[in-house]
């Protein structure tokens, strides 16, 4: 657990020399506790205190960067068990398994699917993040051949090299030198050899508890033993697999791992979790992955990807990892719902994502093609935005003028939410030639409202 300001204060020189930029050592200590200052600012702190503070101030789940460049994935750094307590920090990565037993054509097409997986949703670009190359053949040269295809075809995609054979691991990892891959498959048998390879090639190591297969319970103790040994060999970047494969085990192990890290600051389990969810049935696999997304997995390995499945995963991950303290916003613009014509109605609302989703959903339900003007209100809902002065007559008028919607429609009528009926006169004053109509107060009144106008 992180130290409190007073605990940190006890380790400082207590000279109040102000060299750190703060008036007293206590003030500096408080800033350190809030992670708003760095210990480097204190020139007189003892080596011993420094070490103690560094250990204590490290985040409970170690930050690790997987891959390099613009497709690198950040993992770890989590500080809470429930998203409403603060927020989940680094969204989990989705990886597709590619077995080295696949034909060259199959490997190529899977890699294409990954490269082609990017989707834009609510302004974020989302994609399948990584490839897990699996040494299913147990053959070193076959593994190397498959690795070569991936390295050539998708040089930017982070790769997890999955094998229990150190020689196979080394053959493959050479192709991803300096790309921060993960070498996954270190267990009690091969630990030292795998660790040496990871060290040489600056890779992250993935440890797996073999005892957990077919049962549960023993896995976490074994993982702790493995991470302890890996750390003793001088490697800090580790991802862990307790061996959990069944839904119940994934939920249990992930919960116990994250609790130990966050509540007890148990460093040996303070690492990102890799979860394997592969199933025959794609839908069941998706539901197992839901458990991983909601409950603490940092990497989720899938057996297949398809466009529909990716959309589901990306959306879920976005929902769970949204910062609950910051309202989700959608882009300010004129949205087309259905296929509106120059005569279609124009409604306006604010850009709080929930407001947008509900309003656009109800307009869709009405089956009346419409334009929906979504105005930037810093993510506030209609009434709150109005109260905060962000959804006012002059701002609405300005937005409508600048939006260019006048080029798309023949009429000059704006439908405003019933809750801000009071604005109708003022908007008409500021928007010359326009008529303002007061719509329903609640979005669920929109279908009846729009339908009755259309008929």
């Amino acid at each position: 657990m992180a130290l409190t300001g007073v605990e940190i204060f006890k380790l400082l020189p207590k000279t109040n020399c102000k060299k750190c930029g703060f008036p007293t050592c206590l003030a500096f200590a408080m800033k350190l506790a809030q992670r708003q200052a760095s210990l480097d600012a204190c020139p007189d702190v003892s080596e011993e205190a420094k070490q103690k503070l560094e250990v204590a101030s490290a985040p409970p789940v170690r930050p690790i960067t997987f891959g390099v460049g613009d497709k690198a994935v950040k993992m770890g750094e989590e500080t809470v068990l429930f998203r409403h307590d603060k927020r989940f920090v680094n969204p989990c990565a989705f990886a597709i398994e590619i077995k080295d037993t696949f034909s060259e054509a199959d490997i190529n097409s899977k890699v294409e699917d990954v490269l082609d997986s990017e989707i834009d949703r609510v302004g974020q670009k989302l994609r399948i993040d990584a490839i897990a190359l699996i040494n299913d053949s147990n053959d070193i040269s076959r593994f190397e051949v498959a690795a070569k295809i991936i390295a050539t075809k998708a040089p930017g995609i982070p790769v997890i090299i999955c094998t229990a054979n150190p020689q196979a691991a080394e053959a493959a990892v050479k192709l991803f030198a300096d790309k921060k891959p993960i070498i996954y498959g270190a267990d009690s048998e091969n630990l030292e050899a795998m660790a040496n390879i990871a060290k040489t090639y600056k890779a992250t190591i993935g440890v797996i508890a073999s005892s957990a297969f077919g049962g549960s319970g023993g896995g976490l103790d074994e993982v702790s033993n493995l991470t302890e040994k890996v750390r003793a060999l001088g490697i800090e970047d580790i991802v862990i697999d307790s061996g959990a494969r069944k839904a119940k085990e994934i939920l249990e192990h992930n919960t116990l791992i994250r609790r130990a890290a966050i509540k007890k600051n148990f460093k040996l389990l303070g690492y990102p979790i890799i979860t394997f969810t592969q199933r025959e049935d794609s839908l069941i696999e998706a539901l197992i992955a839901v458990i991983g997304v909601a409950k603490y997995s940092s990497i989720i390995v899938l057996s297949s990807i398809a466009k529909w499945k990716n959309l589901v995963f990306f959306t879920l991950r976005q929902n769970i990892y949204t910062d609950p303290q910051v309202p989700m916003q959608v882009e300010q613009k004129i949205y087309k719902i259905g296929e509106p014509t120059p005569d279609s109605p124009l409604c306006i609302t604010t850009n709080f994502s929930l407001t947008y989703f509900i309003v656009s959903g109800e307009i869709e339900n009405s089956k009346v093609p419409s334009y929906l003007a979504v105005m930037d209100s810093e993510g506030l809902s209609v009434l709150t935005a109005w109260a905060a002065g962000k959804f006012t007559a002059s701002k609405i008028a300005q937005f409508i003028k600048e939006s260019g919607v006048e080029n798309n429609i023949k009429h000059r009528e704006l439908i405003i939410p019933g809750y801000v009926a009071i604005l109708s006169g003022a908007i008409e004053d500021k928007l010359e030639g326009w008529k303002v109509t007061v719509g329903p107060r609640e979005a669920n009144g929109l279908p009846a409202f729009l339908k009755s106008r259309a008929s």
Binding site: L256, D281, K307, N310, L311
Partner: protein, 313 residues
């Protein structure tokens, strides 16, 4: 360093609620742990999924979810029997959509006749839902509750605007009650208190903190549910220990992702698989957050979620 698991013990417990009568009656809730945390406590009952049907033909449902019911859905009785006998539903939720003033505007009397017919055709528990028009629901649900007297149904939804009449009707006819508020833990608590102040037994309420679909506010429902459950267990808050409902189907099957064809949005892939997964994933997330009762529509989505529930307990 040996690993010692941090096990939590919770001071509170979720009420267990039994619905239906006879051999097909069901009990859900009753656990003293966070969802599926069976490694540190007991969960005697598994979550229940009810198949949603409605009193009128589901012309407002998207094609993908209309299709599995196309031969039976013109009549609520044959639809209910199909769910019970062919799909092996454990419970049914009958939504009286036709009573909505903007729809067929059917009378309370018509609605209670349909309730009676459906009840006489099935043995599994029934949830009776209004059309979500607060005013109309008040009259419709009184009649429906009487028609279902002593069948131990779940009646809903009681909201701030109409809870008095609906709760009174549920109480007079021995039913359980859904109390719905809009995505706010305090409103949810407040409504439970108001209803119990009428003399309604707090252990006969099911909380609906309002559902939202994947991608359309799911995170709000998810976190409100987690917070309600934590308040129930860790703070032993007796006003928040009701089992929770996720009314999944109606929210999922109105979003674009369950309707837009692959031709229109090629980057979203197959419509059927996408739409079914949209419902199943929304449901799964809410189970992880704490829902014990789900109302869903697509048989394939329900089947998959039930399989994973078996794997979780």
């Amino acid at each position: 360093m040996a690993f010692v698991p941090t096990k939590e013990t919770y001071s509170g417990k979720v009420y267990s609620v039994t619905v239906g009568a006879g051999p097909k009656a069901l009990t859900f809730g009753g656990e003293n742990i966070l969802p599926f945390h069976t490694f540190e406590g007991t969960s005697l009952n598994k979550p229940v999924i009810a198949y949603e049907i409605q009193d009128i033909s589901p012309d407002d449902w998207p094609e993908v979810v209309r299709k599995p019911y196309k031969d039976v859905s013109n009549n609520p009785v044959s639809w209910a029997k199909f769910c019970q006998d062919t799909l092996k539903a454990r419970a049914i939720a009958l939504r009286l959509m036709g009573t909505h003033p903007d729809r067929e505007n059917r009378s309370a009397g018509d609605a209670s006749n349909i309730v009676r017919e459906v009840l006489s055709a099935i043995e599994i528990p029934l949830i009776i839902l209004g059309s979500n028009n607060a005013e109309k629901d008040a009259t419709v649900l009184i009649a429906a509750a009487e028609a279902a007297k002593d069948r131990n149904c779940i009646i809903g939804k009681a909201q701030e605007a109409n809870y008095k009449t609906i709760a009174a009707a549920a109480m007079a006819n021995n039913h359980k009650l859904i109390a719905m508020s809009e995505l706010d833990i305090n409103l949810s608590k407040q409504l439970n208190i108001l209803i119990t102040q009428m003399g309604f037994d707090k252990e006969r309420i099911i909380t609906d903190p309002m559902c939202s679909a994947l991608g359309y506010g799911l995170e709000y429902t998810y976190s409100v549910m987690e917070r309600i459950r934590l308040a129930a267990l860790t703070q032993n808050d007796v006003t928040m220990q009701q089992p929770m409902l996720g009314d999944v189907g109606i929210f999922v099957w109105k979003v674009k992702e369950t309707q837009a064809s692959e031709t229109d949005v090629p980057q979203w892939g197959s419509l059927e698989e996408r739409a079914v997964a949209w419902e199943a994933v929304t449901a799964m997330a809410l189970l992880i957050a704490g829902a014990e009762l789900l109302i869903m529509r697509h048989p394939k989505a329900i089947e998959a979620v039930e399989k994973v529930i078996e794997e979780l307990i």
